[in-house]
């Protein structure tokens, strides 16, 4: 089976493809959020130690995972764009950054909400929250650098280099922050042996999937606007229905 993948690496063809793909990610995302949160809030039992407050993990944990994962994906796309000079990869990196930053912010916000009843303070300088804060700064750095360079090609390449340096640094930062303070409770998801109720696990994995679908849908929507903006002088853009109407 010979699919010409390179055909879809041209922004003009990917624009149409992305438009068709968006509903396939957006609708499952909404459904999965509804199901996951229903299980999380109504089916899952009350935690023996943490009471009702623990339920915020159904948003907090997926957001944290996605924020870190998206940074690596973003750096990967940026590196592809830098090495092979493919414009679409760089556009994808730019499109992912705001979503990743939003997840990092949600993770911090929900972490604070969780912290108040658990530790009695809105903000605790523990390893994971601090790493998440630094990750948010790394996202801000990427977005700010990209925004302050006028020439799109230079912006893509400079931001890509920053993302690569950042992704090499993320484990070092995480390790150093952990070294600095290990106050956080141990990992809650264990794959061998369950310390969590089955319904809790289900809810968490479903919301994680929902976040993932959401991130893909958002990235596709954003990459379509970036393509339009960058290619506005090309003929195919002026022939589009939505541009002419």
């Amino acid at each position: 089976m010979a699919i010409n993948w390179f055909k879809y690496s041209a922004p003009s063809t990917f624009y149409g493809l992305a438009g068709k793909m968006i509903p396939w990610f957006a609708i499952p995302s909404v459904v999965l959020f509804a199901v996951g949160l229903y299980i999380g809030f109504f089916v899952a039992p009350v935690d023996a130690v943490q009471g009702e407050a623990y339920r915020i993990i159904f948003i907090h944990v997926p957001a944290s995972i996605l924020s870190m994962f998206l940074y690596l994906v973003m750096a990967g796309y940026a590196a592809l764009g830098l090495i092979f000079n493919t414009r679409l990869s760089s556009m994808m990196a730019t499109a992912l950054a705001p979503t990743g930053a939003m997840f990092a912010f949600i993770s911090l916000w929900t972490g604070a909400l969780w912290g108040k009843p658990m530790w009695g303070a809105w903000w605790v300088w523990d390893a994971r929250l601090t790493s998440e804060l630094i990750l948010l700064f790394l996202y801000f750095g990427f977005i700010a650098l990209h925004a302050s360079i006028d020439d799109p090609r230079r912006a893509d390449r400079a931001a890509a280099l920053l993302a690569i340096v950042g992704s090499v640094n993320v484990p070092i930062i995480y390790f150093s922050v952990k070294w600095w303070n290990t106050l956080h409770q141990g990992s809650t998801i264990k794959f061998t042996g369950t310390s969590m109720h089955v319904a809790m696990q289900e809810a968490m994995f479903i919301t994680l999937l929902a976040c993932w679908f959401y991130a893909v849908a958002m990235a596709l929507i954003r990459v379509r606007s970036i393509i339009l903006e960058r290619e506005r002088n090309n003929l195919w853009v002026s022939e589009l229905k939505e541009v002419n109407s």
């Binding site: 700064f137 280099l161 070092i172």
Partner: protein, 227 residues
Amino acid sequence: MNQLSIFKLLNLVIRRDLLLAMRRRADVLTILVFFVLVVSLFPLGVGPEMDMLRKMAAGVLWVAALLASMLSLGRLFSADYLDGTLEQMMLAPQSLSVLVLGKMIAHWFVSGLPLVLMAPVLGLQFDMSVPALLVLMLSLLLGTPILSMLGAIGAALTLGLRGGGVLLSLLVLPLCIPVLIFGSGAVEAVTSGLSVVSNLSLIGALFVLCLVFTPWVTAQALRISME
């Protein structure tokens, strides 16, 4: 390229940058005065209780060193960029990474080393003990070159941009956090009677890592910025 010419080139670049710095001594002094000023502001802000100051000393000195070195990074490449020297450097028949390494070393001599030498005097303001002062100097001696090296990447990426200074800090400061943690951690370790070996060897590892990768990354960043 033979080894001799690498060292000759390094030597040339370092000598050139130091000569330029000597002809513009005010710049070097400004950074040092900024460092002293920031450190001296802390007791005024938090109060003069010696116990608390002793506890804070390492962190305060390290943060001030971090900020002071950010201040000097803007000039690392921008002067050469504006007068066209950077273009000539990129056309040098030797590797650009070596040239960049030379500039990093010169930058450290001008903006890092003075901080290392000044730190013990400021440490006395905070009533630090002699062993703590020695460890502080050692950690700064290993750590400030890392700040110059990581900072060079940011300086190269923000070359010629509006508001480059603030952006530079936003890009570089998060990357410097491990150095800050291990550096001030070493001093805390010695004051609480623990071994400083692990902290210092971690900074040493970061130093080697930066020495290997940052000149090349900075050279790539310069090529991107020159387009």
